[in-house]
């Protein structure tokens, strides 16, 4: 092909820039924090309940920010509702084979569940006095149902952005089916990291923080494996990374966001009391750089 590695090289870049990078980051946090909060609610200790509450408290504001970013990124933001209602017929607009269409509905539905869990977290922490709100999260039946359905949508919101990129014809994005998986796992790692950071800031000492930290290390190791698999699966398109974005991916994501935090977790005495905070902060930064390199790296091809 005259030195061109893939037919995807003949497409035009969509000009998805910083707003989309931030959207992917906050969307990942919204879905990931909710997902982890549900896990803690169902499988954690009773004394870890504030940690799950923290997850719900992070999720909803992040989702609101995501929605704003996504709307502002449209060239015609006042027509954002066209994603949900067909403007010519006023019928519901839904295409199960279009990740952007399913994603729009998922954001809306997840928003509802995230809001309910957010209310329950506020009631749980005494910030609102409506006692009924406490029933909106486990261990009760209603709370259990809300968390399970919300958790499923949280997973979708965290990962659909990667599938959306794969269901295009752009180089890198559409040359591998692993982006969705990478984004789901990364959403979990950055969300666990943010929850650890905020828990440390609040000087919480519940045992769940250590569990969360341990989980983050495992998830980070898995993320590294999937990132390598993603790069290998690109085949000849791998050479698209022979650019400044490849350097950003290597240094910012692999080294700074993965290898250094994994090393810090392995050698806990290196930074003493700052070890856990530094590890979480680096994972969070690495997760942002991952999205930046993937979005802007493909834009630059």
């Amino acid at each position: 092909m005259n030195g061109i590695p893939s037919s995807t090289y003949f497409t035009a870049p969509p000009d998805w820039g910083w707003l989309i990078v931030f959207y992917f980051f906050f969307g990942g946090l919204a879905g990931g924090c909710y997902f982890i909060a549900v896990l803690i609610d169902f499988f954690g200790r009773p004394e870890d309940r504030p940690l799950a509450r923290l997850g719900y408290l992070i999720s909803f504001p992040c989702l609101i920010i995501s929605g704003i970013l996504l709307t502002v990124d449209l060239y015609r933001p006042e027509r954002f509702w066209h994603m949900l209602i067909e403007s010519n017929t006023f019928q519901p607009m839904f295409k199960y084979w279009s990740p952007m269409s399913v994603g729009s509905w998922s954001l809306l539905i997840f928003g509802l569940f995230s809001f309910l869990s957010f209310l329950s977290a506020l009631a749980d922490s005494g910030r609102i006095t409506w006692s009924g709100a406490r029933r909106l999260r486990p261990p009760g039946t209603i709370g259990g149902i809300i968390s399970i359905i919300g958790g499923l949508f949280a997973f979708y919101v965290a990962g659909y952005t990667g599938v959306l990129l794969a269901v295009t014809n752009r180089p890198i994005w559409s040359d591998s089916p692993l982006l969705g998986m990478l984004f789901v796992i990364s959403a979990a790692s950055i969300s666990a990291a943010l929850m650890i950071l905020l828990a440390e800031r609040n000087r919480w000492t519940m045992p769940g923080i250590a569990d969360l930290h341990r989980m983050d290390v495992w998830v980070l190791a898995l993320e590294l494996i999937v990132l390598i698999a993603f790069l290998i699966s690109l085949g000849p398109v791998f050479r698209a990374w022979f650019s400044v974005w490849g350097v950003v991916l290597l240094l910012g994501v692999v080294v700074l966001g993965m290898l250094v935090p994994l090393s810090l977790s392995w050698r806990r005495q290196w930074l003493g009391g700052l070890n856990a905070t530094a590890t979480a902060a680096l994972v969070l930064i690495g997760g942002f750089i991952l999205r930046m390199a993937i979005v802007l790296g493909a834009e630059a091809v």
Binding site: A12, P14, N88, M93, Y160, L179, M181, I185
Partner: protein, 267 residues
């Protein structure tokens, strides 16, 4: 919708002279504004100053220069590029607002009043045809002069083409004409002549297909364009696998200790 016979373009690149009458006719009929306040910037290395298809340029005459190092030998390949109006259209498939429709002429049209400028179609089009029109803030491309077709008129570009490089008609008629032209060229010694996108193998068939005399990539065309949804099922399954693995890691880390704590509380 009453289906008329599928209509399209057949572009014979061997008779294109690069006059750009098609570009001008397209701009004029579709009232597409000039760029840069009417002062066009020159590419500086080619007579091709349009450079690519975008929201304001729905026709683009490509100038491909093939010269030896000493410029002793060479040739120009000229091709008037346009939306391919694919039978299996990637842009239409992914559009989340149904702004992109298939018309009764089997052509693909973007309804500007329904588009919200999400740009998913830009990422999906394997030919890099679609872009945002900065005036309307919506994605735009060739409509195959849908308004002219509805009144029985020929599209502006093919009407203006002085060499019949761009031919308009029913797809069945155009394919017949194109095949005869390939045979004529091959009998005359141009063995490289072939049709790009004229049969169903490429995205179900391109309703705007081309006669080429070199590899597709030389003309900036993908040799093997694909539908974006090829990654939908594997991408979703791998994502689910990712979620299951994360879930298992989470359960493994919280459950043992949580169960032990609950047991201790009970005792």
């Amino acid at each position: 919708m009453n289906m008329a016979e599928p209509m399209g373009f057949y572009t014979d690149t061997t008779v294109c002279i690069g006059c750009k009458a098609c570009e001008v006719a397209c701009k004029e009929w579709n009232q597409l504004p000039s760029t840069n306040g009417g002062q066009n910037t020159l590419s500086g290395d080619s007579y091709d100053n349009t450079r690519r298809l975008d929201g304001l340029h729905w026709r683009h005459v490509k100038f491909v220069e093939q010269f030896t190092e000493d410029r002793g030998e060479g040739r120009w390949l000229l091709m008037s590029d346009v939306c391919k109006h694919c039978v299996q259209a990637a842009c239409l498939e992914v559009c989340p607002t149904n702004a992109i429709i298939r018309t009764e002429f089997d052509t693909v049209v973007i309804q500007s009043d329904a588009c919200n400028g999400c740009r998913d179609c830009i990422t999906a089009c394997p030919f890099g045809v679609i872009d945002i029109n900065p005036v309307s803030g919506t994605a735009q491309k060739c409509t195959l002069c849908y308004d002219r077709l509805q009144t029985g008129m020929e599209p502006a570009c093919s009407k203006a083409c002085p060499t019949d490089s761009i031919q308009f008609g029913t797809i069945s008629d155009l394919r017949g004409r194109a095949q005869k032209r390939v045979e004529q060229l091959q009998q005359g010694g141009e063995k490289r002549a072939y049709l790009y996108g004229a049969d169903e193998k490429m995205l179900g068939g391109l309703n705007s297909f081309f006669l080429l005399v070199d590899k597709p990539e030389v003309y900036g065309l993908p040799p093997d364009p694909k539908m974006p949804t090829r990654n939908l099922v594997p991408g979703t399954l791998f994502s689910m696998l990712g979620a299951v693995l994360v879930g298992l890691i989470g359960i493994f880390n919280f459950r043992n200790r949580g169960a032990r704590a609950r047991e201790e509380t009970r005792l």
